[in-house]
């Protein structure tokens, strides 16, 4: 790329990394997104709603391309479509999912249709078809100061909302029936949470692209929850892992030409595999000892 290349002198590497303003902005935006995604994703994984995150991320694609088509910033499309989608899901969802085999057909159809709409908007826009790759798989190039400020403001808002509902949400996530009996407004809390998730998905989409949102929103929290069951510690670990994947991923991508979508995803997934592999080995050895 523009750099002289990676050396083992880390000081000069850092200097190289931050000599261009676009890279500084990429790191600022990546840091905001990683913190927001790590914390909100922690609750998402706890509530086993990661699939909702996937659906909202797919809705983000027609949102962003539709916004570009009518000439406003893609960020508005991300936030608008994701929040609207979350409200619809919150209103429609009823009963326990999973028992009705038709539900998967509905979800599959809605996802494919949303993606098709996004493709239609991109085609109607008559822009470069390469933009599709940016919307789907992310790009850290060309993030402006204004975008970083928007990400920071929306991220802070989402985290404040999460902090307000955190205690009832954790109660409702662990035992919804008891929580409802104790007077926790379970339905309202879960709808607010869906909106918070929508904001996090919209933010994450702008860094990782609509299709790779899981790599920051779900994989680091799932890894952290596999390491420890203590809530505060594992939430902190989730943020740390998301930050690590983003920072190292961006650096590798800067020095090597590999796309950031690939490096961030691979780092997050490698940590996940490592932790699960270690756990599997540990339980295997434990079982072996018991067998003897």
């Amino acid at each position: 790329m523009l750099a002289d290349g990676f050396t083992w002198d880390l000081g000069s590497d850092l200097h190289q990394l931050f000599q261009f303003h676009f890279m500084v902005n990429a790191y600022r935006a990546g840091t905001v997104v990683a913190v927001v995604a790590g914390l909100i994703g922690w609750f998402l994984v706890l509530r086993r709603q990661s699939f909702v995150g996937h659906t909202l991320a797919i809705i983000a694609f027609p949102g962003a391309s539709g916004a570009v088509l009518i000439g406003i910033s893609a960020a508005w499309g991300y936030f608008g479509f994701c929040v609207a989608g979350a409200l619809v899901i919150g209103a429609v969802r009823r009963g326990r999912p999973g028992e009705f085999s038709e539900e998967s057909a509905v979800v599959g159809t809605v996802q494919a249709f949303a993606l098709a709409c996004g493709f239609l908007f991109v085609t109607l826009y008559h822009g470069l078809l390469e933009d599709v790759n940016t919307l789907l798989f992310g790009s850290f190039l060309g993030i402006t100061d204004a975008q970083v400020r928007t990400l920071l403001a929306v991220g802070l808002g989402a985290l404040v909302a999460l902090a307000v509902i955190a205690r009832p949400l954790r109660f409702a996530s662990i035992d919804p029936d008891v929580a409802a009996a104790r007077g926790v407004p379970v339905r309202a809390v879960s709808t607010v949470f869906l909106v918070v998730v929508a904001l996090a998905v919209a933010e994450t989409s702008q860094i990782t692209g609509a299709l790779l949102v899981f790599s920051l929103l779900v994989v680091p929290p799932a890894t952290a929850q596999a390491i420890t069951a203590r809530p505060v510690l594992s939430a902190a670990l989730a943020v740390a892992l998301a930050l690590l994947a983003t920072w190292v991923g961006l650096a590798i991508s800067y020095f090597t030409d590999y796309p950031s979508g690939f490096t961030i995803t691979t780092l997050a997934f490698a940590a996940y595999l490592l932790v699960h592999g270690a756990r599997w080995m540990a339980t295997g050895r434990h079982r072996l000892r018991l067998a003897r």
Partner: protein, 291 residues
Amino acid sequence: MSALATASGGLADFFAHPFVQRALLAGTGIAAASGLVGFFVVLRGQVFSGDLLSHVAFTGALAALAYGVDARVGLFVATVGVGVGLGILGERGHAGDVVIGSVFTWVLGLGVLFVSIYTTSTAASDSTASVHVLFGSIFGLTAGQAVVAASIGVAVSLAVVAIARPLLFASLDASVAQARGVPVRLLGVGFLGLVGVCAGEATQAVGALLLLGLIAAPAGAALRLTDRPWVAFWCSGALAVLAVWVGVAVSYLAPDIPPSFAIMATAAGCYAAAVVAGPRRRPAMRPRSPR
């Protein structure tokens, strides 16, 4: 390709264009296979296996392109391999949402890597190749590709029809079928292999991201319309073919609209119509054991 199609053309004009003929030839075979396979995918609750196969299709096709092989080779090797693998591994316990989602994401991330290898390594490559794999290019098929796609579509359809009776039995009640001597496990593995072939096929028409709709929507609509399994089976295939034909025609008349969107919109519209106007009830046929 949109320049070729002018909105003034009539029906005779429509069929006279070689690119339309090739799209209809390939599209019919692909749609018939997707609709018939999709009926069992929905009935067996395996839509998310289809989702995984579509991600794998993207990565497989671009891996082949990145290393200078025909995209279809990568496509079919990846989808059939993973389909059979899923069938064999799927017997042992259930992988959770998070596991499947993490693998999905990583497979796509790998696909992005191959996109960048492809666009940087081959000098003459066009950078829209990944868009074609993701969203299909049914009007861009050559005559040879169309004939191959149609023949594979026919072969998949025949194979599904051949195993349809025992497969329906095994899907509705696996344990009774097993007791009656139906090779349930072998059928499951073979069926996921067929879904893999079908996913590779459909990627060429509507693209890796949208093939799930062509598999799920016609079958979902058919299961809403009728209770009788064989009627729903054939109805699903017919609806898929209808969606492709209508989609190709709409996209021909309005060149701004990409064919994959028109096909998906028709299929999703059929499903929505079936839900709203059809008999208001859940499909009666469901597998006994949720899988």
